[in-house]
């Protein structure tokens, strides 16, 4: 994405984000319309078909998306100075988002408890610059407390991995 104009390097310009989100909305609306046409937007013998209602929704989505995109393009110059987020602001956001994605992927492999422990530990060491001892205490303590709360007290089964299986759960 070319977001350099009018702002420092690496800053995300609002107008680009605005435009892309609006175009994604239009795309989403088109998907809805196409699928509604597939299932039928007309009347069958027993009443309106499945696509009857979503078809309108899709049309309004496309309309509203184009409207926002159009207004962004018209005011392109005026919007030039606005930044969506600076590089320094984006960094912590990614520092939160990327580990979270990794965490969710891990859940499906090693279960939610171990993954949570790793996730909290990583975050505390990396972001919080905590020592090893407090990190260990909290990153192990929280999942254990959650385990007792959900598996033992509420009897709600959460995704488990090899470690829990080894312990007999």
């Amino acid at each position: 994405m070319d977001a350099k104009e009018g702002s420092a390097r690496g800053d995300l310009a609002t107008r680009w984000v605005e435009l892309i989100v609006a175009l994604l909305v239009v795309l989403g609306g088109l998907v809805v319309i196409v699928d509604s046409l597939r299932v039928g937007i007309s009347w069958a013998e027993d009443g309106p078909r499945a696509g009857y209602f979503p078809f309108f929704i899709g049309c309004i989505l496309v309309g509203a998306g184009l409207w926002i995109a159009g207004r962004t393009v018209i005011a392109w110059r005026e919007l030039g100075g606005k930044t969506f987020a600076t590089r320094d602001e984006l960094k912590p956001v990614l520092a939160m988002l990327l580990p979270t994605i990794a965490y969710v992927v891990l859940i499906s492999f090693i279960g939610i408890y171990v993954a949570s422990a790793l996730y909290i530990a990583a975050f505390m060491l990396w972001q919080g610059k905590f020592g090893l001892l407090p990190t260990l205490a909290i990153s192990v303590g929280v999942p254990v407390a959650l385990f007792l709360l959900f598996e033992v007290w509420f009897l709600v089964a959460l995704p488990k991995g090899p470690l829990e299986r080894m312990l007999g759960y």
């Binding site: 609306g29 009857y52 989505l61 509203a64 969506f84 912590p92 979270t100 965490y103 709600v156």
Partner: protein, 505 residues
């Protein structure tokens, strides 16, 4: 009227059992905690806890979850006054005068004022619910599908017309909600819609996942960006301060009353607590004798937004109970809860599940009294929680959100969707797309669609059915007026500008 009071007394009998009082207490404590922590709020707090209540009796469950909601409403004020960080969007306006008061060493006074006016606002709204809800429900019994669709249409139009966000963005957010609600099996014809051969999409998108992602993870990402550091004043409340502040408060009865009315109006028409608090603050500033001193630590500047926010938050339950149309995202989640517990919200609820309805209403009185006492006595404890570094709180909140998302359907796919909704929430919040309409549309999507199709079926596809009798026509007309309101007011502004311009030259 008398009948209502009798019903209410029966409701108290339902609510005052040891078990329900315990759930009330748990609900309020968790609620304040959720209100204090960033990233967890009323809506997603209730959403996360909802799956745990599936096995409870519906009455106990709704008592606990609604108390969680009151707790969250109370909790938001603590962070605003002590740390200048609104724990909830509706307490942003409280920071304007609350934080300066805290810095002047009057934090105790500010918090007492905030909690007490929250309580007053809620009480006003509960009284309104007690006497108005049965009437609305009785009236709504006459509604057919066109009337229900018209009411839903009115709800969505008032989002567009009354919202602070650009109308086009409100429409986008709402329509995305409807589109997501349509995914999966069509309940009327049994056709699969927008699943694209993916078996995970068969059940469609659950609004609970959307709420947890949009409001939970999205909020955490925003907080990360702002680089949160909790630096605040110490909070201490003793009986002396409380009594002194209480002696001051009756002076502001006019501000309070105005805030109550604004709050209830915004809660019933789904404006929500946040705009209500801003509107009330603005009105108080305009009408107060000390209006120009607002922002420097005026008690009135705390009373006005807090009263309105709580009145709006509480009265949002009125349309939810009587019409099945929630007035706020949290009410929407509670509505989803009703459906899951097997209760059909709407006018019949008042006839078929009297115990439930009046137990809930009675618990609103009790919950708010208990809540007021709890927050007044436990402030230092909550303030201490905020001193826990964000590097610990943030991942723990994400873990709780992930568990909450998983427990809805025991599906891993939902956890992944939660992250997607979180990213969407971050971008939408920053680009000023409102999130509440999307959640409401997700909840109401199927109902609105069914009502629309049934009306169409009745009329043979003729849209005129929405103007076929006086009732439905006037609701539709009101909706259209509200929908076009932004155009009218903008036109008026332009006209005023044009007529004002020639003069200074």
């Amino acid at each position: 009227m008398l009948e209502d009071i009798g019903n209410l007394m029966q409701g108290f009998a339902v609510a005052i059992t040891w078990k329900n009082l315990l759930f009330m207490l748990i609900g309020i404590l968790l609620g304040v905690l959720i209100g204090v922590l960033p990233g967890l709020g009323g809506a997603n707090g209730v959403a996360i806890l909802l799956p745990l209540t599936f096995t409870m009796s519906p009455t106990s469950a709704i008592i606990m979850l609604s108390c969680l909601y009151w707790g969250a409403l109370f909790g938001g004020a603590i962070t605003s006054i002590l740390f200048n960080i609104p724990g909830e969007p509706w307490s942003v306006a409280t920071t304007f005068d609350g934080f300066p008061m805290g810095q002047q060493g009057r934090a105790g006074e500010a918090m007492t004022a905030a909690f007490t006016s929250s309580f007053v606002g809620a009480l006003f709204a509960v009284l309104l619910i007690t006497f108005l809800a049965p009437l609305v429900a009785k009236f709504a019994l006459k509604f057919g599908p066109p009337e229900f669709f018209a009411i839903q249409f009115l709800t969505f139009c008032s989002f567009v017309g009354m919202g602070r966000e650009p109308p086009a963005k409100t429409i986008v957010s709402m329509m995305l909600g409807f589109a997501l609600a349509a995914v999966g099996l069509d309940t009327v014809t049994g056709t699969l819609r927008m699943t694209f051969g993916q078996s995970q999409l068969l059940q469609g998108f659950d609004f609970l996942i959307a709420v947890i992602g949009l409001f939970g993870l999205g909020e955490i990402l925003l907080t990360m960006e702002e680089g949160l550091a909790f630096k605040g004043t110490r909070g201490k409340i003793d009986l002396n301060v409380v009594l002194k502040t209480w002696a001051l408060l009756p002076k502001f009865w006019m501000t309070s009353l105005r805030a109550c009315i604004i709050g209830c109006w915004m809660g019933i028409t789904p404006g929500g607590a946040t705009p209500a608090s801003f509107m009330s603050y603005g009105m108080a500033r305009r009408f107060s004798k000390n209006g120009d001193k607002f922002g420097t630590g005026q008690i009135e500047g705390v009373v006005a937004p807090e009263t309105a926010a709580h009145a709006a938050g509480t009265s949002a339950l009125l349309p939810m109970l009587t019409l099945g149309i929630p007035g706020s995202p949290t009410a929407a989640v509670l509505l989803g809860g009703l459906l899951i517990w097997g209760l059909q919200p709407g006018p019949l609820l008042f006839i078929e599940h009297k115990d439930f309805v009046w137990g809930l209403i009675a618990s609103m009185y009790l919950g708010n009294i208990v809540g007021l006492l709890i927050v007044l006595t436990t402030v230092p404890f909550w303030a201490a929680i905020l001193r826990i570094p964000f590097a610990i709180i943030a991942p723990v909140i994400v873990v709780i959100c992930a568990i909450g998302a998983y427990t809805v359907h025991n599906r891993f796919f939902d956890v992944a969707m939660m992250v997607v909704f979180g990213v969407v929430g971050y971008f939408f919040k920053k680009l000023k797309y409102p999130l509440a309409p999307m959640v409401l549309a997700l909840v109401l999507g199927d109902m609105a669609e069914t009502a629309f199709r049934q009306s169409m079926l009745g009329s043979g596809g003729n849209v005129a059915v929405f103007f076929s009798n006086g009732l439905v026509a006037s609701i539709m007309a009101l909706a259209l007026v509200i929908l076009c309101w932004p155009l009218v007011s903008r036109g008026r502004e332009r006209w005023r500008e044009r007529s004002a311009k020639p003069r200074p030259a």
